[in-house]
Amino acid sequence: MKNERMTILRHEKVARETHLLVLEGNLVQDIADPGQFVHVKIDGFYLRRPISIADYDSENQTMTLIYKVMGDGTKALTRFQIGESLDVLGPGGQGFPTSQIHDNHALIIGGGIGVPPLYSTAKRLKESGVAVTSILGFRSREDAFLLDEFRALGEVHVTTEDGSLGRSGRVTDALPHVKENYQHYLSCGPTVMLRAVADHIPDKEGYLSMEERMGCGIGACFACVIESHDEKGYKRICCDGPVFKAGEVVLS
């Protein structure tokens, strides 16, 4: 893990209150798996903000973050300009183990701001010969992003809660319409969504990316624990996760 000032190469709005940020720096070389995250320091805020790595290019040392304005910190982040730099700590945690997935077919299920880390995940899977079907759920048409990018990788089912784009409803409403030829599913989104997904697909192996408020982001403060089914009884989302096997942790 590194702590580095990374230069902003791109910074633009891609959907309602949703911004794409391309950063350049050495720590990109340390990214092991898609689904890892970085911990971003924003001037004037005491705690860092965890943001998933949406895409990365080790050769050019660039990575893409996609974030939604949820509060004062992410709002302040929107004001940073191309050419300025950001204090970034990372890459953190365990991502989706794409290199261990050797299926014919995998299912991606992303909800809202859980979609970004699944993009590089889908890319890596496709690169290693795994066909990818994606279900992407958003609140509304204006919140949707990365659709074309996902379509370039395989079949895409879009759901929106208000029906303004794709199927009306939630990601689980698209499940019946997806061929069951996948062996693994990989999902990221709000915990309620992850629970619904895990309940709907009890018979397949799945990987879930979890969220919790963080202090250190490196495993030292025990802010981000989640109950687990093993003997130890807990996992730290920032370093044991954020990606866990479905069934490994308690989705309460």
Binding site: Y46, R213, I218, A220, A223, G233
Partner: protein, 310 residues
């Protein structure tokens, strides 16, 4: 520049150490720098049995600070001795064990078990984040005295009592600890606070209240150390919102003999190392030629000839 300070049980090559609970048992920070750079290390709280801590969220951001209610999650004293201390021992630096409990018996048992493996004990009678976490010991001088006396009796190493700032009279608490045989004080633990999220209409932290740390509390800690320094003769390890070498100097001038750095490790994982490296410059800039010269320097009676303590 001489950065060394000798305190009971602790020969510190420099006065900077990570604060309890903000550095776990060192492993995570060892990826960033060589831990032997540190003056010492204070481990995460140890209780008799392992504890799972509070529900999440456990942290919340505040203006220039944060709230936490981890709830003393730890693997239990025996696991700490067998699985964590050996790693730290490799780095050849003084180790301080933070001892917590719900009863005098628990405190005593933990201290008895862990003291042979460490250089000093930090007696945590001030954790505000667990119902049975010892905070009553930290706000009642007679209970503080009792638990300190018992722990001092069984401990092989000097005992530093960690005081809670959530009291009317900090001097009274400090004197109680000194009377009971403490070799030093550790000041301060967090101030009890709360944030409410207008969206959920509930406290942000699952536990309701949490402990406030960070730059926001520094003026309160400096005030308390300044008060206590005049009243006791045992040394003080100061903490609360330290983020720079100048902050360390402010603590030394107030009367601390060494300092601990907590939440700032989360902002900048290199903070302890960077401050240690900056200390010689900071001392020189303000006309000091050693750490010892600065200790207590803000006390009128001591401006001419700074009393070296201990």
């Amino acid at each position: 520049m001489n950065l060394s300070v000798n305190l009971p049980g602790l020969n510190l090559k420099n006065p900077v150490m990570p604060a309890s609970g903000c550095f776990a048992f060192g492993k995570e920070f060892a990826q960033f720098y060589d831990l032997s750079t540190l003056g010492a290390v204070i481990m995460k709280a140890a209780t008799k049995e392992r504890r799972f801590g509070n529900g999440t969220p456990r942290v919340a951001e505040t203006a220039s600070g944060m709230l936490n209610a981890i709830g003393l999650q730890n693997p239990g004293v025996e696991s700490i001795i067998s699985d964590e201390i050996p790693f730290l021992k490799n780095h050849h630096l003084p180790i301080i064990a933070n001892v917590a409990g719900s009863t005098v018996e628990e405190y005593v048992e933990v201290a008895e078990k862990i003291s042979p493996h460490v250089n000093a004990i930090e007696l945590n009678i001030s954790c505000p984040n667990v119902k049975e976490g010892g905070v009553q010991f930290g706000t009642d001088p007679s209970l503080a005295k009792e638990v300190t006396r018992h722990v001092v009796q069984v401990s092989d190493v000097p005992v530093y009592v960690k005081l809670s700032p959530n009291v009317t009279d900090i001097v009274e608490m400090a004197l109680a600890a000194e009377d009971a045989g403490a070799s030093g004080l550790s000041m301060i633990n967090t101030l009890t606070g709360m944030r409410i999220d207008p969206k959920t209409r509930k406290p942000v932290i699952a536990n309701g209240t949490g402990g406030l740390s960070g730059a926001a509390i520094k003026p309160i800690s400096i005030r308390m150390i300044h008060q206590v320094y005049q009243a006791v003769t045992i040394p003080i390890i100061g903490m609360g919102g330290i983020e720079s070498a100048e902050d360390v100097l402010e603590y030394l001038l107030a009367g601390a003999s060494a300092v601990a750095i907590g939440s700032a490790n989360f902002k900048n994982p290199f903070i302890c190392k960077e401050i240690i490296e900056e200390m010689p410059n900071a001392l020189a800039r303000y006309g000091f030629s050693s750490i010892k010269q600065a200790i207590g320097g803000a006390h009128d009676e001591k401006v001419e000839t700074p009393v070296l303590r201990p």
